[in-house]
């Protein structure tokens, strides 16, 4: 199983070696970091390293979607509202220029201080947020704009109103909309890829994941509360279900790992943005030349084979 992942990393390594530096971004470190990743991949991440990812993914200073947007996109214009009943601040949508091409951006948004955090509901979207996302996807499809999504949520909001407004159905339909899109799509897991709330905007031609991001079916605390009957056993739970980037790459869930500056993305947000932008551009380069039908066919084929089976 690791062989395929290794192959893909090696492929990226060889491509990076020949890549010209764009706009003076600091790429020099990435080659070395990817080489590190390769070594790490060969040596499975330890429980300690996995927990370190969980902590870095949730670090209070970690760059959020709008921190990347202001560094990566030019002329960004935010689009508000689901055209039905509300504007959900936990999920932002907008238009911007990426390398002179207009793209649509959809991303979860967490707040920095106490007030913002409450306003953004800790990045936990209501169905209204996912309906706003679907509206932005439709716009992308209508105008042929490529789509970039940024995933950073502990999960979709579990509340009474959220259920009444159809949280499960909204997440299902948002994924279905992404499956059907004619335009190239790249999803970036930049912090917490929390379960259904994350996958709702992460069904894409290429999925890239930052080195210290996590992506999982349930939060470590939630898993621990159920299987260990003690939320305090979150470390053990995380070690068991392995939400770290190396395992996600190995299992074929993400297509590439995006290096972060030493110490994590928060240590140098500018460098982290440059690396993320590079990864997004590289991902688009792989898929933008395909015919729309062929791209959709490949997108579906990619998800068709996800999972591991045995026969009795």
């Amino acid at each position: 199983m690791p062989n395929e992942a290794e192959m893909r990393l090696r492929e990226r390594l060889s491509k990076l070696g020949g890549m010209k530096l764009l706009r003076g971004t600091k790429l020099s470190g990435e080659l070395a970091r990817l080489q590190d990743q390769l070594d790490q991949l060969q040596a499975d991440p330890t429980a300690e390293e996995i927990w370190q990812s969980v902590e870095l993914a949730r670090h209070p200073d970690r760059p959020y979607t709008l921190d990347y947007v202001e560094r990566i996109f030019d002329d960004f214009f935010e689009l508000h509202g689901d055209r039905g009943r509300a504007d959900d601040p936990a999920l932002v949508t907008g238009l911007g220029k990426l390398d002179d091409q207009t793209v649509v951006l959809i991303g979860h948004q967490k707040g920095r201080d106490l007030k913002q955090r409450a306003n953004r509901n800790f990045g936990m979207a209501y169905p209204e947020g996912y309906r706003k996302a679907m509206r932005a996807m439709a716009l992308a499809g209508r105008h042929g704009f490529p789509l970039v999504t940024m995933v950073d949520t502990p999960g979709a909001y579990p509340g009474v109103a959220a259920e009444q407004h159809g949280q499960g159905g909204a997440i299902a339909r948002s994924q279905a909309a992404m499956v059907r899109l004619d335009v190239p799509t790249v999803a970036c897991v930049i912090g917490e890829g929390g379960s259904g709330g994350a996958i709702a905007i992460a069904v894409a031609d290429r999925v890239v994941m930052q080195e210290n991001a996590i992506y999982s079916v349930i939060s470590p605390e939630g898993c621990a509360a159920i299987l260990w009957r003690d939320a305090g056993e979150a470390r053990k739970a995380a070690a068991a279900f392995k939400p770290d980037a190396a395992h996600c790459l190995e299992l074929g869930v993400v297509d590439a790992i995006v290096a972060e500056p030493l110490g994590g993305a928060h240590a140098d947000p500018d460098a982290a943005s440059a690396l993320l932008e590079q990864a997004i551009l590289a991902a688009f380069e792989e898929i933008e030349a395909l015919e729309p039908d062929e791209r959709r066919r490949r997108r579906r084929a990619k998800y068709r084979v996800m999972g591991v089976l045995a026969s009795s």
């Binding site: 949730r58 936990m124 502990p154 999960g155 979709a156 909001y157 579990p158 509340g159 009474v160 259920e163 159809g166 949280q167 499960g168 159905g169 997440i171 299902a172 994924q175 279905a176 992404m178 499956v179 059907r180 917490e192 929390g194 379960s195 259904g196 709330g197 996958i199 069904v203 992506y215 999982s216 079916v217 349930i218 939060s219 605390e221 939630g222 898993c223 159920i226 299987l227 260990w228 939320a231 979150a234 739970a237 068991a240 279900f241 392995k242 939400p243 395992h247 299992l251 869930v253 997108r299 579906r300 998800y303 068709r304 996800m306 999972g307 591991v308 089976l309 045995a310 026969s311 009795s312």
Partner: protein, 283 residues
């Protein structure tokens, strides 16, 4: 959720819905009115309480028998079993839980799929069983559902899905989450070929199954009283400290909010599916 990271949003295997009296009570004692029945009495009423109309849980094989024309069902993909890609170990190894579930239920995993006919209308069926690890969806449930979609596409017949699930199976980690887009892609292909999907939600259909194929039927039906919420009542009340409405997440509440086409009592389910299959029949 002690750390305030509160987003447990895919309900899981060991989470049971609120059924206060079912803890110690005999499985054939009605949790709503306390009436008690023999197995054969309940089987005769399709496991609906004759006194109060409570819908008892139905396993996948019994459900299929209730729905299809006698002798018409041909089960597919009986040899698929879960692997253990994460070598998952909590208090017990995942492989042990799987083996135990198979012995208890006689099923290979939490879904039974195959070709059949309802009121002479050919269809494919994908029927879940809550008794197998809480009807949780891992790689096998996803794969069998997808193959059911593919058979329906190939045979140019509609797909009837009957769900009963606590959500994604956390023992398969991120691969369990990937079954959401995987099943959704299969429905997209079915729809693209002109095929229809009828989705029946039974108690309970929550988490990752509600957030994927169960919500995407061309027609979505539910049994009376079925819990169909993304997050379960316990998670919602713990996270939000809100007082939950009495019918929180139930089919009746979902119908009022516009998430369902109809609530269909079990005694009418076969006839309703027959009617819909005739309406979607391709000539």
């Amino acid at each position: 959720m002690s750390s305030g990271q509160g987003g447990v949003d895919v309900e899981v295997e060991s989470k049971r819905p609120d059924e206060p009296s079912q803890g110690k009570a005999h499985p054939n004692t009605c949790p709503s009115c306390g009436s008690h029945y023999r197995d054969d009495e309940l089987a005769q009423t399709l496991r609906v309480c004759p006194q109060c109309g409570h819908h008892f849980r139905v396993g996948a094989r019994a459900r299929i028998e209730q729905l299809v024309d006698p002798g018409s069902f041909v089960e597919g993909d009986t040899d698929l079993r879960s692997a253990d890609p994460l070598e998952f170990f909590d208090l017990r190894p995942y492989t042990e839980r799987l083996a135990e579930a198979e012995i208890e239920t006689g099923l290979g995993d939490a879904i039974v799929c195959g070709a059949g006919a309802i009121e002479d209308e050919a269809c494919d069926l994908a029927v879940m069983d809550f008794a197998f690890m809480g009807g949780s969806m891992g790689s096998v449930v996803g794969e069998k559902f997808v193959r059911s979609c593919e058979r329906a596409t190939e045979n140019r017949v509609p797909l009837v899905s009957v769900s009963a699930s606590g959500g994604a199976r956390m023992q398969e980690g991120i691969l369990a989450l990937m079954q959401l887009p995987k099943t959704i892609c299969a429905i997209d292909e079915l729809h693209e070929s002109g095929g229809a999907m009828l989705s029946v939600l039974t108690h309970p259909t929550t988490g990752g199954v509600l957030a994927s194929f169960a919500s995407l039927g061309d027609v979505v039906l539910a049994e009376p009283g079925a819990l169909m919420s993304f997050a379960g009542p316990r998670v919602v009340s713990q996270t939000t400290r809100e007082k939950l409405p009495d019918d929180f997440g139930r089919a009746e509440s979902n119908f009022r909010y516009g998430h369902l086409d109809a609530i269909v009592p079990r005694t009418e389910l076969r006839a309703t599916l027959g009617q819909l299959l005739r309406l979607f029949a391709r000539t």
